[in-house]
């Protein structure tokens, strides 16, 4: 990019003077604790699956993730998750629960455009990239692992 013009620089200094400072540290602490709270719930669900069903620690992860996403989808539908998101920011978006929120909030937003073109077409507007890059990176990692095993490195 080329250098900024004189007007742009002037505007930037003006902007900086008036801009409210973001409470970064406070936001981080909030996100840390709310995110940690979600993880406690996730751990409880993991133990629930280990304890009452035939899942080991190895295999209990999958149903736990599914349950957490399902819960966050319900909470988004009831309008509770928006408030959590407002308060906690990244703490509610980074765990898998953020995925459920992204799917359902997009679906609700485009509900007025009809079921096929609205809900169906826009549901994965945000979450689609998660699936795409998740699947693709898993594919690449698996490919590397297969090659390494073939060559006898691991």
């Amino acid at each position: 990019m080329g250098g900024k013009t004189k007007e742009q620089k002037q505007y930037q200094s003006l902007e900086q003077k008036h801009e409210v400072k973001r409470p970064v540290l406070k936001n981080c602490i909030k996100a840390f604790f709310v995110g940690g709270l979600f993880c406690i719930v996730g751990q409880a669900i993991t133990y629930f699956y280990i304890y009452f069903f035939n899942f080991t620690e190895q295999t209990a992860g999958n149903p736990t993730v599914a349950t957490m996403v399902f819960i966050s989808m319900l909470l988004t539908g009831f309008g509770v998750y928006d408030h959590i998101g407002q308060f906690a920011g990244a703490g509610s978006a980074v765990p898998v629960t953020g995925f459920g929120n992204a799917v359902i909030s997009a679906a609700i937003e485009h509900r007025t455009e009809g079921f096929v073109l609205g809900v169906g077409g826009n549901m994965f507007k945000l979450a689609g990239s998660v699936i795409l890059f998740g699947v693709f990176s898993a594919f690449v990692v698996a490919l590397i692992k297969v090659l390494l095993i073939k060559w006898g490195v691991i």
């Binding site: 133990y47 280990i50 009452f52 899942f55 080991t56 190895q58 209990a60 999958n62 319900l74």
Partner: protein, 156 residues
């Protein structure tokens, strides 16, 4: 309206929780508490057998990274389940490797299944609990042990 829906959902979930009849009996607390189960053999408990599994339990318990060791001897396999101390859980793989190596060197003719999984431990304790009942047949116990071993080998 919304409140009613939420309450309705919660009630349904709570009620559905009862639709599950394979919950563990009695020993349920083993997930949280140190139980220190005694080593047991599914076959006849001769002096030689008891000495062998007792020695195995002692050997595994000598690792200070873990607590609560359960040893179960079946017809061919010996199931060793243990809990790892919380801060040592980062080294879980290393600990498992160390235990496997030690057991293989010390008892080369036995076949060991080593697991640090809570579920395996829970199942082992439940099986021991069942074995106390004299009506619980050896075949049934052996079958259950094989099921646990299968569960251990299962991956995602």
């Amino acid at each position: 309206m919304r409140k009613i829906l939420i309450t309705y959902f919660l009630v349904i979930v709570t009620l559905l929780c009862a639709c599950n009849d394979d919950e563990p009996k009695g020993n349920g607390i083993a997930l949280l508490k140190t139980t220190n189960p005694a080593p047991l053999s599914l076959e006849k408990n001769t002096k030689k057998e008891l000495d062998l599994i007792g020695a195995i339990e002692q050997d595994v318990e000598s690792f200070k990274e873990l607590y609560d060791v359960s040893v179960l001897k079946g017809k061919e396999d010996i199931l060793v389940a243990y809990k790892v101390r919380h801060m040592q859980r980062f080294h879980m793989k290393k600990i498992e490797k160390k235990i496997k190596k030690l057991l293989k060197e010390k008892y080369p003719e036995e076949n060991f299944i080593v697991s640090s999984d809570y579920k395996i431990f829970l199942e082992a304790v439940e099986l021991e609990e069942n074995l106390k009942d004299p009506n619980y047949s050896t075949e049934k116990a052996e079958k259950r042990l094989q099921e646990i071993i299968k569960l251990k080998k299962e991956l995602t």
